[in-house]
């Protein structure tokens, strides 16, 4: 799964101008998360057209990178997230960040996460019968 990582200065109106640029160009945002300190933030987005979004943002002087992340389907019921995290913990994998959203297409919740070891994460998930989602699965 591809994610947009955007450098954001903590300045008034900065987030709006990024989101506005994307919406003006018909980019659909499915999920968003922000990590920040007092001076900077990184905005992480899951969008329908990653490459187009990147090109548009770059044109507008916004620093952006495309990052590979894991998108893991999960049921929209209590205990689902804890089950997933246990799989990682049992395999000694640490989570760097995560956020979740509900997708219309696969009719359930999706956990977006970056771990310290993508390959091991995938095989640990597969062993438990879970397949990470591709871009096409969601859009």
């Amino acid at each position: 799964m591809k994610q947009l990582s955007i450098f954001v200065e903590n300045k008034f109106g900065r987030a709006y101008s990024i989101i506005d640029t994307l919406s003006a160009n018909n980019i659909n945002i499915s999920a968003l998360s922000i990590a920040d300190t007092s001076e900077y933030g990184i905005m992480r987005l899951i969008v329908d057209d990653c490459e187009k979004a990147k090109a548009i943002l770059k044109e507008n002087g916004i620093m952006v990178k495309i990052t590979d992340v894991l998108a893991i389907p999960m049921g929209n019921t209590p205990g689902e997230l804890s089950k997933l995290l246990k799989i990682f913990t049992d395999s000694m994998i640490s989570v760097e960040y995560m956020y979740a959203f509900v997708s219309k297409k696969n009719d359930g919740a999706v956990l977006v996460t970056k771990t310290n070891d993508t390959e091991n994460s995938i095989s640990a998930l597969k062993k438990m019968g879970i397949s990470p989602l591709n871009h096409e699965d969601l859009f």
């Binding site: 450098f7 920040d36 300190t37 002087g61």
Partner: protein
């Protein structure tokens, strides 16, 4: 006066003395300093062609870059065994520049500073607190030497620890304070806040190493109830004491028995007529260890040859009004934008320097330095921690290169304002 014969020497005699010394100095340097000989040869000049001050304009200029290119000892004119002290200051790039002194050079330096102390009313009964930085910087030890020479009690506090500085002033009975003007103002405000002004015996302040205004002088004088005087110097020529105000507070006397000043057009190198404003150039007449001929200071000022009310015949320089290069003086430290550029180039991980902007301001009488750096592809990582790491790395490298702290801000690409396509590199908001 400390040295009345010299300080009041009639100008014709002074010129004769300068001429004798210049001829000797040129001859000596031609033999001892390869870089100088080469420049003379290139101009087809021989030491015999220089017969006095009137021939000075024929001689080649020397530049700060010469100090870098001949680092560390290439421009020294004596055997290293004769050198008893070195000092250093920042160059235009990461490398510092180094100067050296023989026993006699230190003697001359002390004599120049002693003339100043004596004129301003200090003597062996004075308590002179030196709040200039000690160390490689010439400020501390330079003022120290002169104060010791007149037999004053020297209190070498160096910089920092303001509360203790003030306590020392009170307990030790300081009568003369030497520091940067901005630090003096800061001390004055602290003294006011502590309500201890009445406990001070301070009478004289000698302030230099950074630009300051007459308004600042008045504020310091009123707050501390002292007389505040301006002192000028640069380590390439000697250090503090190349020139200093007398009680008239109307320009700084340059000790012309040791230094010949000229004012030139910084573009053409032409010597300008008396009284004109231009770049100040110095020739050292008595320096043994590290002599310089026609050194381009990059300071912009004018010279006043009129006789001074104090009786001294030596020319007075007006307070420099600016620079003919892009050097900044921040908290008394020389900073070149090129030094900052060099650090950013190292950090960027690419072969191009990220766009940057230097913002200098003065907040509560303290200079602030902010460096905005445009984020580049190579510097941007997905993790917030790595952005902070980049910021910290730049901050640490700037500190070690410049010798002063800077606040670093990473900003969006293309967000630094550009005029005619070129980014404006330096914004100096200080009102000096």
């Amino acid at each position: 006066m400390w040295n009345e014969k010299i300080e009041t020497m009639p100008r014709a005699e002074l010129k004769k003395l300068q001429s004798e010394r210049l001829v000797k100095q040129v001859k000596r340097m031609y033999e001892k300093v390869p870089c100088f000989k080469e420049r003379m040869d290139n101009l087809g000049l021989k030491p015999e062609d220089i017969n006095g001050v009137d021939d000075l304009h024929k001689l080649p200029f020397s530049y700060k870059s010469d100090l870098r290119d001949n680092y560390p000892y290439g421009l020294f004119a004596t055997d290293m065994s004769e050198i008893v002290r070195v000092h250093a200051s920042s160059g235009t790039t990461g490398k510092q520049i180094v100067v050296g002194y023989t026993e006699n050079d230190l003697e001359v330096w002390q004599d120049c500073v002693a003339r100043m102390f004596t004129e301003l009313g200090a003597d062996k009964n004075s308590f002179v607190q030196i709040s200039f930085g000690y160390g490689l910087f010439t400020g501390g030890l330079g003022a120290h030497g002169g104060a010791q020479k007149i037999g004053a009690t020297v209190i070498p506090t160096s910089t920092g620890n303001t509360k203790r500085q003030i306590q020392t002033m009170i307990d030790f009975g300081t009568t003369v304070l030497c520091s940067t003007p901005s630090y003096a103002l800061y001390l004055a405000e602290e003294i006011e806040a502590m309500g201890v002004k009445d406990k001070l015996k301070l009478k004289i302040g000698i302030f230099g190493a950074e630009p300051w205004t007459d308004d600042m002088r008045k504020t310091i004088e009123n707050k501390l109830n002292i007389k505040a005087y301006d002192i000028y110097g640069l380590s390439e020529i000697m250090g503090p004491g190349v020139a200093c105000e007398c009680k008239a507070q109307d320009g700084m006397h340059i000790w012309e028995d040791n230094f010949i000043p000229e004012i030139i057009d910084p573009e053409t190198g032409e010597v300008l007529p008396e009284g004109a404003t231009g770049e100040l150039v110095f020739t050292t007449l008595t320096k043994e260890g590290f002599p310089l001929i026609r050194y381009r200071t990059r300071d912009i000022c004018s010279l006043n040859y009129e006789k001074c009310s104090c009786g001294r015949t030596h020319v007075r320089m007006n307070k420099p009004s600016g620079r003919s290069d892009d050097m900044l003086i921040i908290r008394g430290v020389n900073v070149f934008p090129s030094q900052i550029e060099e650090v950013l180039l190292k950090v960027s991980g690419e072969n191009i320097t990220p766009n940057y902007q230097i913002i200098v301001d003065r907040v509560n009488n303290n200079d602030t330095l902010d460096v905005n750096v445009e984020m580049s592809e190579a510097m941007f990582e997905n993790e917030i921690i790595s952005i902070e790491k980049t910021e910290k790395q730049i901050t640490a490298m700037l500190r070690s290169t410049l010798g002063i702290g800077a606040k670093v801000h990473l900003v969006n690409p293309k967000s630094i304002e550009r005029s005619e396509g070129k980014a404006k590199r330096v914004i100096d908001k200080r009102k000096i």
